[in-house]
C-alpha cells in the first residue's frame, strides 16, 4: 500500500513492485482482451466476406434499405464520443476533475445517442419485415414506396447477372430442374433471392456491436459513479484509461461496419 502525492490513497496489489509496473501490467491485460475482441468480430467479418463474395447482388440490392444518412450520423456521434473519451483520459491524467466529469458525461450522452439512432433503424426494419432468415417478410408496396432506390437498382440492371454462382448448366435429362425452371417466377425486375442473408449479417454484426456499446456505457457509467468519491487522480486513472480503450475499440469496429454495410457500391 502506498500513498501518493495527489492525496488520493492509491493501493496497488502487493505483488507489484511499483505503481508503474501495476499500471503497465493492467494495460497489457486490457490489450490482450481487446485482441480477443478483434478475433470475436473477425468471425462475423469472415461470414460477411463469404456471403458478399458469393452473392454480391444481394448486398447491392439489400443495402438500399439501410439509411446511410443515419449510419453517417452514428459514425459522427461515435467518433465525437471517442474524442471526448480520449480527452477525459487526458483530464484524468492532469487531475482536472471537473473537466473529467463533463467529458465522461458527454461520452455517455454520445453512446446513448448512438443507441437511440440504432433503435430508430431497427424499429423501421422490424415494421417493414426486413429481418433475418424466415422472418424476412418484406411488405413490397410500402417498402418500395419508402425505398425508391431499391426498386431503382433493380430497374437499372438485372442483378441476377451479378452473382458469382453461375446458373446450372442445362442437362439433357435427370431429375434436376433446368435453369429456366428454377428462375421461373423470378423475372429480372424482381428482387434477388435470399435477401434475408444480408439482414442476418446486418443484425448479427450491428447487434454484437450494439451489445458492446451497451457494455461500454456500463463501464463508463461505473467510472462516472465512482468520480464522486474522488477516485481518480494523476497517479490513479487506470479505470478511466481502460474504459477509454474499450470505448475506442467499439469505435474502431464501427469504422469498418459503416462502409461495409451502408455504403455498398
Amino acid at each position: 500500500m502506498r500513498r501518493l502525492e495527489n492525496g488520493a490513497a492509491h493501493e496497488i496489489p502487493h505483488h507489484f513492485a511499483t505503481p508503474r509496473q501495476a499500471y503497465e501490467s493492467g494495460k497489457l491485460g486490457m490489450w490482450i482482451f481487446l485482441a480477443t475482441e478483434v478475433l470475436l468480430f473477425g468471425g462475423l467479418f469472415a461470414a460477411y466476406a463469404v456471403y458478399r463474395g458469393n452473392h454480391p447482388e444481394i448486398f447491392i440490392y439489400a443495402h438500399r434499405f439501410l439509411d446511410s444518412r443515419l449510419g453517417a450520423l452514428n459514425t459522427l456521434i461515435l467518433i465525437t464520443s471517442s474524442l471526448t473519451m480520449a480527452w477525459a483520459v487526458r483530464s484524468a491524467q492532469l487531475g482536472n476533475r471537473r473537466l473529467l466529469t463533463l467529458l465522461l458525461a458527454l461520452t455517455l450522452l454520445g453512446g446513448c445517442a448512438f443507441l437511440g439512432v440504432k433503435v430508430v433503424e431497427y424499429e423501421h426494419k422490424w415494421k417493414h419485415g426486413l429481418l433475418w432468415g424466415k422472418r424476412y417478410r418484406p411488405h413490397p408496396a410500402e417498402t418500395a414506396q419508402e425505398h425508391p432506390s431499391a426498386a431503382e437498382v433493380l430497374r437499372e440492371a438485372p442483378l441476377g447477372d451479378r452473382t458469382n454462382i453461375p446458373p446450372a448448366a442445362i442437362g439433357p435429362s435427370g431429375l434436376a430442374f433446368s435453369a429456366d425452371e428454377t428462375r421461373a417466377g423470378h423475372a429480372d425486375a424482381e428482387e434477388p433471392r435470399n435477401v434475408q442473408l444480408f439482414f442476418g449479417v446486418y443484425f448479427a454484426m450491428t447487434g454484437l456491436h450494439g451489445l458492446h456499446v451497451v457494455a461500454g456505457l456500463l463501464v463508463i457509467g461505473w467510472v462516472f459513479v465512482r468520480l464522486r468519491g474522488g477516485a481518480y487522480g494523476p497517479s490513479n486513472f487506470e479505470a478511466v484509461d481502460r474504459a477509454g480503450l474499450y470505448w475506442h475499440l467499439v469505435d474502431l469496429i464501427w469504422i469498418f461496419l459503416f462502409p461495409l454495410l451502408y455504403l455498398i457500391h
Binding site: R2, L4, A17, T18, P19, R20, Q21, Y23, E24, K27, L28, W31, I32, L34, A35, V38, L39, F41, G42, G43, F45, A46, A49, V50, G53, N54, A72, T75, L76, I79, S82, L83, M85, A86, W87, R90, L94, I165, A168, A169, I170, P172, G174, A176, F177, S235, F237, D241, G244, H248, D251, L252, I255, F256, F258, P259, L260, L263, I264, H265
Partner: protein, 121 residues
C-alpha cells in the same frame, strides 16, 4: 526488467506521471481528420469505380482505425507490445477471411437445391 529495477532503486521516479498525456491539439486534429475521412468515405461511394469502391472504402476505414489506435488509444506512445497484440490479432483475422475466400465459390452449387452439374448432351 532493468526498467522496473531502476524504478525501485530510485524512489523519486515512482511519482512521475504514468503514461503519456496526449496534447489537446493532437486530439482535436485527429478528431477533425476522422470527420473529414468519414465524409470522404460517404462521398467516394457516389463515384462509380467498379470493384475499386470496396477497396477505397476499406483503405479509408483502415486510415481512420490507425488514427484512433495511434492517438486516442495511445499506441504511438505506449510500449510496442500493445501494438503487436492488436496488429497480430488483425493479421489472424486477415488470414481467416483470406483463406475462407480462397475457395468459397467452388462448392456453393452443392448447397443449392436442384442445381444440376454440367452435363453435356
Amino acid at each position: 526488467m532493468s526498467d522496473i529495477r531502476s524504478t525501485t532503486e530510485n524512489g523519486s521516479r515512482e511519482t512521475e506521471s504514468l503514461g503519456h498525456v496526449v496534447p489537446l491539439r493532437v486530439l482535436l486534429a485527429v478528431w477533425f481528420a476522422l470527420v473529414l475521412l468519414s465524409l470522404a468515405t460517404v462521398g467516394a461511394v457516389r463515384v462509380d469505380l467498379g470493384s475499386l469502391n470496396l477497396w477505397i472504402a476499406l483503405a479509408i476505414a483502415f486510415v481512420k482505425a490507425t488514427l484512433v489506435g495511434l492517438y486516442f488509444m495511445h499506441l504511438r506512445y505506449d510500449q510496442p507490445f500493445h501494438a503487436i497484440a492488436l496488429v497480430g490479432s488483425l493479421l489472424f483475422v486477415v488470414l481467416f477471411v483470406g483463406l475462407a475466400l480462397l475457395d468459397t465459390t467452388h462448392y456453393q452449387h452443392e448447397m443449392i437445391p436442384g442445381y444440376a452439374p454440367a452435363v453435356r448432351p
